[in-house]
Subunit: 486 residues, 2 copies
Amino acid sequence: MAKQGLTPQGEDFSAWYNEIVQAAELASHSQVRGCMVVRPYGYRIWELIQAGLDRMFKDTGHENAYFPLFLPKSALDREADHVEGFAPETAVVTHAGGRELEEPLVVRPTSEAIIWPILADWIQSYRDLPVLLNQWANVVRWELRTRPFLRTTEFLWQEGHTAHATDEEAEEEARRMLGVYRTFMDEHMGLAVVTGEKTPDERFAGAKRTYATEALMKDGKALQAGTSHHLGQNFARAFDVQFQTEHGEHDYVWSTSWGVSTRLIGALIMTHGDDQGLVLPPRLAPFQVVIVPIWKSDEERARVMDTACRLELELGEMGVRVKLDGRETHNPGAKFYEWERKGVPLRIEIGPRDIEAGQAVLVRRLVLEGQDRKAATGLDGLSESVPALLDEIQSSMLEASRARREASSRRDFGSYEDLRSWIEESPGFAFAGWCGGVECARRGKEDLKVTIRVIPDEEFRSDDVPTRCVVCDQPSTTEALWARAY
Amino acid sequence: MAKQGLTPQGEDFSAWYNEIVQAAELASHSQVRGCMVVRPYGYRIWELIQAGLDRMFKDTGHENAYFPLFLPKSALDREADHVEGFAPETAVVTHAGGRELEEPLVVRPTSEAIIWPILADWIQSYRDLPVLLNQWANVVRWELRTRPFLRTTEFLWQEGHTAHATDEEAEEEARRMLGVYRTFMDEHMGLAVVTGEKTPDERFAGAKRTYATEALMKDGKALQAGTSHHLGQNFARAFDVQFQTEHGEHDYVWSTSWGVSTRLIGALIMTHGDDQGLVLPPRLAPFQVVIVPIWKSDEERARVMDTACRLELELGEMGVRVKLDGRETHNPGAKFYEWERKGVPLRIEIGPRDIEAGQAVLVRRLVLEGQDRKAATGLDGLSESVPALLDEIQSSMLEASRARREASSRRDFGSYEDLRSWIEESPGFAFAGWCGGVECARRGKEDLKVTIRVIPDEEFRSDDVPTRCVVCDQPSTTEALWARAY
């Protein structure tokens, strides 16, 4: 399959996705249904995502901790909405150490019901607040239909959990972390998202408010990339987490939780990838530059490798993640093909004639044809110029993502039929009125497979506020972002 | 408890250990028996351990990946010794997604039986070898008696898994990673270990050879801190992982696995801790320096905090992990007490009179009394001097660990009774002869609670090679390290 190239995106986006996950060696299947193996190249992307986010979490005052994988089944039952939301998709340990357990243990689908009974011991007074925790962990949700990175039975994620003395502080935290996600998606992923609040039906099970970032994939579908929940006092009441206020009274704490997962890798693939394969933003690329030496004779090889090694060293010293692909088992063409498919932002080709001319050929992954794709560049000062070039590529990817989002957004729907024909012909982000009725949201879903992704934040709303619900044509109470979604 | 101080080590080492884990806020218990919560201060130590080891793994050519949490029960059964060793202590998922599973899933106790069926697909030819993988993950072993960090039902670890074309390469890898562990324990943990090979009875279930690092705790007991296994072709045969050799033949790959876990935090506590609490080596200390400002009036506070902030900034710029403890809810005495208990290597006290004298008071955690404990030090150049001082502390901790190990080792046992009285009075590392008989090893265990930790590597062996087995007095075939152990 890899040798014959990928199925073009325009032909079958879903097939393209499955092929690229394999062909770029990002993930593979395992013996257990719905559980993927994250291969080294894919995991390195995850490590770079973790490093970037972890820095931002620490800069906003959060500390990492680790809570157990298991929770007693009874703990999950304590918050009514929460158990209803999660119980159907849990994996349950009934036997351990060769015996049946008295009480079954649930493998965490998320950790609120594990963390809150423990925080009840840690929090006594307003002086113990806020508590700002994060955990990097694996979680399990028994999904019926799975796809690598997008929806898997086990996945890797981070889950932030915080406790506050007031409603306002919890709200501020939930919004702050939504902002952290958005900044990360902008600056590291080159992913232009829409932020907003989920409708009551789509809230996290147990939350008072759920905020999300929604990203537009190249096939016009939305992907929920990160969520941040203001949990109100729901979990504090369920697990009796009270504290003494400054005025000596007792109150339940206000809490938040927020998370992103390995799904972000799915977002990267479907936002930037093209018919040649993966396209990685420089900040998350395992290798930002690959050097491919070209030789015919042994004598040429020695000369070329000498220059290539020097260049590799110089780039490394500039802080660039560089790989010199000196394999003798592959010809240069096969190497070009492999690294294009794996999305390396820049390729440097060096052959004997280049060295004589004191130059190398610089090829941009993002540019598939035309005069901007390849450029002969003097070897002198080449390394020094690479970081700025990578920054430029990083910015241009965000710009392109933003431009695609805008080009695939429409804001002037005259009727439900108008929405129908648009979404069926060229799906994208539909900004349209909503009466606030559950029935209209349901009809859009059943009828057009369109859901309300979020009530968009102020800055994403239309200048001309829609006045009618796009489904029932009754007066609109709010503008909603409707889209087909993963 | 914390307020009244810890149980002295000499009185009840085990009570001291349990108290310090709580008092230094390293871990706490959870609702699920045997599962601990790693609190932020403890987790930060783990992050520093991870960062140090991960660098060393990558420098030796390994890549991280992630394999599933679950394996089908039948997969565990494929390697005979392996299933016998691990099946009794597994946790088993029998229900998921609201239904009973057709085949139960085992929560990984280690990942050989998950990884090998997958690598069978990745490895075709000698060109695909070696495969050098590592995974950071949680594993579950249903232990009857648990203690935080030392033995818990769920724990965090890394597990390396590698495949090679020859027996020799696998052997080299297993020894190389043992060496990496030893270097890490020396240089990062300040932990002087003995390396060697486990006896056949103590091998990893499924291994051809198991190597280990054994560390001496302050109570004279040994702690197995890291293991590295040469697995021979056992797993390759069990999971049919064959490759085409350079000569066109087919052979099974040779494999290794190696791991260390959160148990290393237990090793740190029991190697360096004292009656005041934790003592952390600078390279693994969440805070290497804590600054405690001292003031009485608001005016003093402003002046002192101004200098303290400046110092904090300077130290941060020097790459020092520094904390300025400006809390107004605690007096300086309480702060001294807390940070001593938490093992911060250096404390800087600054009061108004210090500032007038252009100095600060530097207090070393490691030195409990005498003139070396506290020193007034000029503020000028203080920051610049700290990194070297931290290095000096780091080295002195390794020296102290080595000296304790030597002082608690004995090599001239005349008889079994001699071993008995020594181990009962002042347990430590007994280097003594062994006839190679399983019966003698068993007798030592049942009788004296002494086990053969390893057959020590050459450099740890005695100059006068013991000629008789310390248990049966028959001729010795090898020198063994006998000790009581965790």
